[in-house]
Symmetry: C2
Subunit: 98 residues, 2 copies
């Protein structure tokens, strides 16, 4: 929604790693992401930590969630990423100034 949530979500390196994993293999479950982070990045975070990270990413609109049975699959949404960095790349952009 607002850019603030996107920037905050991207501020954490663990969340950026989660986006990396989803970019490489989309539609993973929570425990699947936990396993990948532990195996490929030596991340000793608990399941709750990853779940909270995913909640932040979801609130920012960077991750979409769909439930199937007892699973919770996460899909990457790169739409918010395409307009946030362009904010300063142009000379003058609409935003706050009337």
């Amino acid at each position: 929604m607002t850019d603030d949530g996107v920037w905050k979500a991207l501020a954490d390196p663990t969340r950026r790693l989660i986006l990396d994993e989803l970019a490489e293999c989309d539609g993973q479950s929570l425990s699947g992401i936990c396993a990948r982070l532990a195996r490929r990045h030596a991340l000793g975070h608990s399941r709750q930590a990853v779940s909270q990270h995913l909640a932040v990413l979801e609130a920012a609109g960077l991750v979409w969630v769909r439930r199937e049975g007892r699973y919770r699959f996460h899909d990457l949404n790169t739409a918010p990423l395409e307009h946030i960095a362009v904010r300063w790349l142009r000379p003058d952009l609409s935003g706050d100034a009337p």
Copy 2:
């Protein structure tokens, strides 16, 4: 030089506002930025707060500093912004393919 500093610098809304001001009017001094933030965005931050924000932006490579006399002019550098968000925009061709 690592992306981590750039993401951390961009996580704060005040620092993003500073980048906005520099994008609109480059090469401002510290007190000039303070005045603009106070007048245009109703930011009651002290000079030290803005100075520390500028230090973070400088450490991230987003702002270049040049001293002239007792002034300290700040120039925006958008180079780090052009490659950080593209990290997840490419579907699959990242990897190690030559």
